[in-house]
Symmetry: D2
Subunit: 283 residues, 4 copies
């Protein structure tokens, strides 16, 4: 499925600063970048970095004091999702997990799974099937956490949200990840462009490792799952934030869009989850 | 109903210290102290204090460095509880609450009701009747919080317990109080001697203000409600701890007991709650 | 010293609500109310309440759905402060504190002194004199906490501020109180009108019990201490907030002022503290 | 410098469990493993895993219900440390950091650097040289945090320790790491065997990235820096715990030792830090 994604960020720079900007679509077997353009105005030399596990492409740039910079990214991306039958969605025992999946079992900055063990077990421990456990988690979050802008900030974590019961997509994802890990289900943070997200913005959701693959889930129900174009994975937002600033700048403008370039888009919605899982193709 | 209550605390004193000991049964209209003895060995002059609102009697004593002191209290107390019909148990609107009840609507050290608003409202807000709300709160706590010694300490608060899901009577009471206040139901902490509590110890539970009176509730279901002899009320354990130490002493021994002096004790149990409330008589 | 204080609050009422409004100047031996006017537009019947310990006067009003109400208070208040020589400012041992002072030794919602013990002792424990301890506390807060609007909210407590190092007058007071109590110095929250505070607003600071009296302190250094007109005392902001809302209203307007009615006002500033303490007269 | 390290862990297994045991010395340019033995009694097939960035070797084993297993590791390890002149210890700007160093700038589960920014800047921001900054951090920690077993647990994080002011080596390391990252100094967790540590145990400290290399630091001052044999690096203890248990087992025995096999060991102590840095050789 082809999407045209684009984003634009503008910053006022008060002091010489280094920015790590994480808005490029990832190159993955199931996500082909057909074309992409990245520009900075005024021109600054930038460097593209790829993290060790290929779960993250980002650019690093040095911004001079007193400048106003504008970063733009546009890409045409072809994504291939596969639907996975429920019958194949069994848990992978810890003893058989790939070494590179294991880190996603441990607690992280915004996903304190070590503090949620009793609660997760009490609420979801009785559910036998792992896929149903994750579904129960996201349904519970959807029903119990109020989606409300302005109620949280960049320091809000799953431990706050589980009690304060409000947040945005980032908080929904963090809480879901923490609950999964508390139940020994590997889970990782996902940021991306999202088709039909309203209002248009970057989106955050998560992937859980089930049946030998990373299935995508979204507790917010705000957009179709197969309309996502992946920017990054990480343990949580500490690894995969859109922009990390070292210095002193302020964001003065942001726009994000994601358009479908094909006419036959059939949304894979929350309802479809109940029948089958969804994952980016891996070959 | 007559009870013989007694407690004994021993302390090793490492440094000149002031102790506030809060183990005396309260003198109340519904709780008559027939006889009581308080001794300290070796003898130290002590002072008895009563707090401004009569919700607390305690003794203050100065312990000298290097001593080992033993504090003993015994009393025969006659308590009169009344059962209150469900029909009388309507909420008192904030606009009609007595001024001295209002403080029990506000958050306190261990009962951060201000942080539990959304959660309380989501879980219990749909219940129309105030008595049923409180019953739903204590049933939920009983079912979701594990009673487990050693999981919490003197700094543990309702905000911790709501997520960590384990604790002792103090934690059960704090969480219940916080949830009540979050729903605009006045609630206060209660410490006392408790008949049939196993193992024998001081007990903590709480009272909620419904239908113009302070009804007693206990989310732990550990002992009959009408076997309680009240020691103190407070906003939470910060106001009503058994002992407050200023200096450096260690507790070397503690025993607590509560015996019935009558044969016809009929326990008012958790099951009875569903039919009628219980309160200490106030006249 | 005579001051004219006034405040005006307006609320849009979305749902039938009860408001507790705490903007009246207290009647105290050292604070005489020469005249005062309180109006509500449109007229609603209100009730004036005084808390048990006389540390709080407030009005309770019932606001109807769909109304817009405007609450105005004006008073001429004569305050008498006394300066206290340093020589008289010795600590009162816990063993000699009045019973009604003891509650101000315990932790409260926003002043978790029980969590700050080691830190307070390490930083201030070596200072022998109690007055110097409190001075060291407020100097340390002034130097280490950034006064910055918008960094905190109504849930922020001393435990947050000690690490996050930013806040407003309320947060400065909470942190100072928590540190005092951690060192066994009784301390209570103070709200008031404040002459020469810029921008004009309600102010919060605190009192510590030293030498047998409640001395006033302000870690913000924003206004002269002897220009304060007391509205309320409390353990912290949970007891003494300007307005407590039960229902659903939004604040649409607020103005506060405090003018001197005499010409010879001589500010008692932070610098004067180092020489002598200040307290409202108590006879 | 040759060391003989050994450790033994025994577990009672209540339920089929998977264990990740992280007690092997790392193979590194500056750390040669001359010989090593790893045994499990009774014999179970185990699997050795190495994490993607080679910062972690661990074994995974499946333990059967009702068994009692004993894991033993012994190795002779030759470590080569280099001393680094202060003149070479300049900060590497974020713009020039290697991509694989960047993750160590971000907050993690136990090192919430995002919450410590103001505090770190206020306390250490004025120090120009990065090495002096880190020295000031560990000196401050040593002077202000009480080393006290039993005061913390596996959920304790830097955000707790900064206020509660007590902990063990793990807590000292987490706090130091959080403060470094808050000042844009990459820092990572280090676990190892430690010569002359008393009582003998696994040790935790940290490395900071300065002058293009990972220098080792230890805020506890409990053992010589050049007596460390590295087991693992990680963002914090979530990545590098000695044992991660999935299932239900209890630790019944643990012993750890680290002996020098050469006679000329000259301790590189805290005092030596002030003159030069120390790092494991990287070639």
């Amino acid at each position: 499925m082809k999407f045209q994604v684009s984003s634009e960020l503008a910053y006022q720079v008060y002091y010489p600063s280094t920015l790590l900007i994480n808005i490029h679509a990832l190159r993955l077997p199931g996500q082909t970048i057909i074309e992409e353009t990245f520009t900075i105005d005024p021109y600054i030399r930038v460097e593209e970095l790829i993290s060790a596990e290929y779960e993250n492409r980002f650019i690093r740039l040095e911004a001079e004091e007193g400048t106003h910079i504008r970063v733009s990214y546009t890409a045409v991306v072809d994504t291939m999702y596969k639907e996975v039958e429920r019958a194949q969605l069994e848990a992978v025992p810890v003893g058989q997990l790939d070494g590179n999946v294991l880190p996603y079992l441990f607690p992280s900055r915004y996903c304190q799974s070590d503090k949620l063990g009793r609660m997760a077990y009490k609420k979801f421990g009785h559910i036998g099937n792992v896929y149903e456990k994750v579904m129960a988690i996201i349904d519970w979050i959807y029903e119990n956490i109020e989606y409300a802008g302005g109620t949280t900030n960049s320091q809000t974590s799953a431990y706050d949200t589980i009690t304060e019961r409000a947040g945005v997509c980032r908080d929904f994802a963090h809480l879901a990840i923490a609950l999964c890990r508390a139940l020994t289900i590997p889970a990782r943070y996902f940021t991306g462009y999202s088709y039909k997200l309203k209002p248009s913005d970057f989106h955050a959701c998560f992937e859980a490792y089930i049946g030998g693959q990373w299935l995508i889930f979204d507790a917010t129900r705000l957009a179709p799952l197969n309309g996502l174009v992946k920017i990054a994975n990480g343990r949580d937002a500490a690894d995969a934030s859109i922009a990390s600033i070292f210095g002193n700048v302020s964001l003065t403008y942001m726009s994000v869009s994601c358009l479908s370039l094909e006419e036959n888009f059939v949304a894979f919605t929350h309802q479809d989850y109940y029948n089958k899982g969804l994952a980016l193709c891996t070959v």
